[in-house]
Amino acid sequence: MAEVSIRKVEKAYETYKAVHGIDLEIADKEFVVLVGPSGCGKSTTLRMVAGLEEITGGEIWIGGDLVNDVPPRDRDIAMVFQNYALYPHMTVFDNMAFGLKLRKFPREEIKKRVDDAARILDLTTLLDRRPKALSGGQRQRVAMGRAIVRNPRVFLFDEPLSNLDAKLRVQMRTEIKKVHQTIPTTTVYVTHDQIEAMTLADRVVVMNFGRIEQVGPPQELYHNPATRFVAGFIGSPAMNFFPVKVTNEGGLYVQWPGGVKLAVPPQRANRYAPYAGKEMTLGLRPEHLTETHDIEKPGVVRIEVPVDVVEPMGMETMVHFLVNGEEMTARVDPATHAAPGEMLPLAADMNNMHLIDNESNKVV
């Protein structure tokens, strides 16, 4: 059993605070991804779990042991680094065996474990090579192999894919997920890429400015973001934010600065009624601003927007338009005719709207 428990953990440097007392419970065998923009404290948090960074407040427990003052080598963890951190003067075999040799494992056991890991990661033919003679993806796999052979209580990944090119990144992402399915081990994974977070995680932890914004399964974060930050960070292209005024005129409406009024669907009316008369922010994902085929559905409102830029992506087309000087994005069928400068009718699916309080930045 290796649950990880982070309790009120803080990291303060001389001049500023990187992590502001965060709480996080990670279950045994769970795959948790810490995601956020650079400087949000996610890597610092991971390094504190690893023991590479001292904790200035709070407690970290691994598998029921308080590890605040336990050095990294005694925490029974393995870590995969962004730059792979393979030992350049050792062969692939020796790289993977190093940790076991230091722990005085018998020779046959080391060989067996390395061979097993090499088979899982498709490295069997490369065991005699030096890291220099490997491609980026192969190096990444060796770094994972080095973690796997140890059979540790916790895997830690620090942006392991950000040095790979786009195609390889997608491939390795799948590979990491496969490895976790084959050898279920508690995993903490840090990335700034929200797609990586969404695809890999059992639960995603969104961090910003050294605080946790929201914790939840990927779908939950996507559909029910708790704050404006999460709403904007998760999802690509990002959610559109429209400055609106909530009005109550025999029914609840949100009104754009230009005067366009969008009816709030009845099932949301009660939730939003207290905000009538206030300036709020309307959040609507690009996929909920589509061509006008299903205009008949309840809760879908027709609007017309001036097209600014059209980006055909093949299976879909992104249409950018300006509202009040701000760029907004709609995701339409490639068959839809849209040309820059023309007015394009769009269907706004208000069933998926989010309303954000401008003062607290919370989604209401």
């Binding site: 590479l52 990294p72 080598r73 680094f81 951190a85 003067h89 190093f98």
Partner: protein
């Protein structure tokens, strides 16, 4: 065809400048090498031939007798056993002093870059400062300290002085080199279970080849060639090669044996020459690596 013509024209232009460049290089090389040449041929001449006065002429009847004399029978002060004993003194001083100062320097560099502690910058600045203290300024305090710890007038004392004095330089070399060493490798080794010395020996040292060569050459040359400390903190049979050479030349037994003096000087210079010939190209390479990345 036209390309060929242009090529040969360009070649002609560069040929002229090449002649100039190589000509100049040859002239300067000759200027620098002449003393060595004179030393070498003089050491192979008999005294009679030297007295004829043709300094640059090749030996008529080459002899290695001066070399044998310098090594084994020449008189230094009152003893006439040549310089072999002093050569041994220098070896016994240089080898441990170079080894210890290099090892300590690399450990210092490791700590100052990868195991930082509060005040590491100050410590490093102070160590750098040590590089700029002139030898002469510390002679008397060092003599006092050596006397107090019972190492006065001994090879051990010279080793200590050279280690302490060399530490500033060796630390600087290694610190700058390790500054560019990826910290993630150290972290990976920590997580793999390696302790301080295991990381040092199994991760850092295998990557330190070039800078070790630079440091060893630098320290070897400096310590081998040192005269001031050798003449201040050792005496009699305990002095290093450089001091013995001076004594040999200044010992008068009636006749000035230039050929023996030259042979002794050549013997004294051989180890450093050898080190440069064997490892010189790594020296430049390592210096560049340290300079660019540091």
């Amino acid at each position: 065809m036209s390309g060929r013509v242009e090529g040969s024209m360009a070649g002609g232009g560069s040929a002229v400048s090449r002649v100039v460049i190589y000509g100049l290089l040859l002239v300067f090389a000759a200027i620098f090498l002449t003393p060595l040449f004179v030393m070498l041929i003089t050491s192979l001449k008999s005294l009679d031939e030297i007295r004829d006065g043709n300094m640059l002429s090749l030996p008529q009847s080459p002899t290695i007798a001066p070399w044998l004399s310098a090594w084994g029978t020449a008189c230094i002060g009152l003893t006439c056993n040549g310089i072999k004993g002093y050569f041994g003194n220098s070896i016994m001083m240089v080898v441990p002093a170079v080894a210890i100062s290099t090892i300590l320097g690399s450990l210092n560099g490791f700590v100052l870059t990868k195991f930082r502690f509060p005040g590491h910058k100050l410590i490093f600045a102070l160590m750098l400062f040590a590089c700029f203290i002139p030898f002469q300024a510390v002679l008397i305090p060092v003599a006092r300290v050596l006397g107090m710890v019972g190492l006065g007038n001994s090879i051990g004392g010279l080793i200590l002085v050279h280690v302490v004095y060399g530490l500033g330089f060796t630390t600087l070399f290694f610190r700058n080199y390790y500054e560019a060493f990826p910290t993630e490798l150290i972290r990976a080794a920590m997580i793999d279970g390696a302790g301080f010395f295991q990381i040092f020996r199994r991760i850092l040292l295998p990557a330190s080849g070039p800078i070790i060569i630079v440091t060893v050459i630098f320290q070897f040359t400096n310590i081998w060639n040192d005269f001031l400390f050798g003449s201040s903190f050792a005496s009699g049979d305990g002095v290093p090669m450089t001091v013995a050479l001076n004594n040999l030349v200044n010992t008068s037994t009636g006749v000035k044996e230039y050929n023996v003096d030259m042979a002794a000087a050549m013997i004294a210079a051989l180890p450093t020459l050898l080190v440069y010939v064997v490892a010189g190209r790594y020296f430049v390479r390592g210096l560049m690596a340290g300079a660019v990345k540091g």
